[in-house]
Amino acid sequence: MINNMDLSLVDWSRAQFALTAIYHWIFVPLTLGLSLIIAIMESIYVKTGNEEFKRMTKFWMTLFGINFALGVATGIILEFEFGTNWSSYSWFVGDIFGAPLAIEGIFAFFLESTFVAVMFFGWNKVSKKFHLASTWLVSIGANLSALWILVANGWMQNPVGMIFNPDTMRNEMVDFWAVLFNPSAIDKFTHTVFSGFLLGSVFVIGISSWFLLKKREPQLFRHSILISSIVGLVSSFLVAYTGDSSAKTMSKVQPVKFAAMEAHYYGKTNADLTAIGILKKSGSQIEDKEILDFAFRIKIPGFLSILTGGNTSTYVPGLYDLVLGPDSIKGIIPVFEKMNRGKFALNVLTDYKRGVMINDTQQVNLIRKEYFGNRDFMNEAFRYFGYGYLGKPSDAIPNVALSFYSFHVMVIIGGFLIALCILSLFFALRDSIEKHKWFIYISIISIPLTYLSSMAGWVLAEAGRQPWIIQDLMPVSRGVTQINTGSVIATFIIFAVLFTALLIAEISIMLKQIKNGPTPQEDKK
């Protein structure tokens, strides 16, 4: 058990943040994806002058508008929670988080808020090209907003570009470019944005398929499917490519999470990748944590080694090796060793605090010079500061079943979506979608499946990082504010009600607008 933690408070605070983030994420990927597809549709309209593409753009823009409007400000609640429920964490991350979020706010406000108005109010009031530019700027603005949020999240997965200041107790950014081009941030941004494009594409394919099923506006929706299939197919391959890159980075900077998502316990070369698997208890344990085995498994021989190192001879450490050793394997520092280093760093900080409290300037200056100003101490010990809070090595293992299933749900649905986009494009090019009713039904069902995949990706990213709120530096239990658990439970319930109401409002307004369909009369105004 992690030392000195109020499990109830920590768990409720986590549940509250997870609930808010998941509901927020219902709105975001559709905004990212649909904004791009709309911009492409409008570009075709401006290029060809074909009114059908204008009607198409307006129809999808309506659905974009509903989603965009109902999603607005749901992310602000996450920022409230940082200040109220995660105050130690918020203080500790310092300007690392503040700078990207401030830039995000400026982009979001000036680009999205300004040009969204032109998108919706400006059809007959500004030139075609200015309107098109506004639509593109909304899309670019939305995706750039995502960049800064994901840079902040990337830092939580792999903290770089900062130095810890014991006087302010904050991490101070010393290298903006290292934070921006952090491999975890780049992977996260590209993977997330492309998955948003894919989700937007599947949304358009699914809704368009419903119109074809109802035999309404077939030409318009065939063209919608064609455009979104191209965007979807390109995006799906980019999602796979960036997912691969993300996994490679994870194997280096978060090897425990990487091993957990594959339920990979014992290190080996020529390690197999699990394509599909069902886990069961093995009866063995790593300390108090159950080792899971496969009740059913379809594996790809040697592919986990290829995924991480490019060849089958790459050694892939398992959870057992990472947590308990063996330390003879080059490059692995087992958790128990990191705990020693973390405890040492924690004791240095405690001594520093004692010096500050008794106003012992000599001791404070000495510790500052010998330790916090010493690169070796920062790289070899303080880097593992968070491990000082672990009670035993197995505390560093996240929930393996949750990590494994969320990863595999994401990947399996991702593979299915590649096939969907290929088929969709194939049928759209042959103008034969209506002849394949099964495909129409699958397209419609694919909409919730794509959301599920997107959510599963975030569950892996966040739950797989446990017990850390900042990888290796701070466990979740130390980031939480020591407030009354009852108030956290109360706000959890309020959010659950508020967000569910919002979701119901979104779905009902959207369904009504979908049923109304594109209205030719609107264009004559």
Partner: protein
Amino acid sequence: MTGIAPIAKKVFRFYIEGFRDMSSWGKKVWIIILVKLFIIFLILRLFLFHDFLKSNFDNDNQRSEYVLEQLTKTPPKHD
């Protein structure tokens, strides 16, 4: 200044006409946005979500001391 006033007037009219001619779904969505913003900023922010460090401490020194205390209280013994 003579150039800015007409532009500001045009922008103002652009928004006024935009809201006036808004479709029924747009009006519904705006009502939801306003209710949501009211709940978020006037209920959640004012009554439930105080910035813990800002509202409990007067300056950054006190805040950093508090966080230092939180991070170092009952530290485990160095092996």
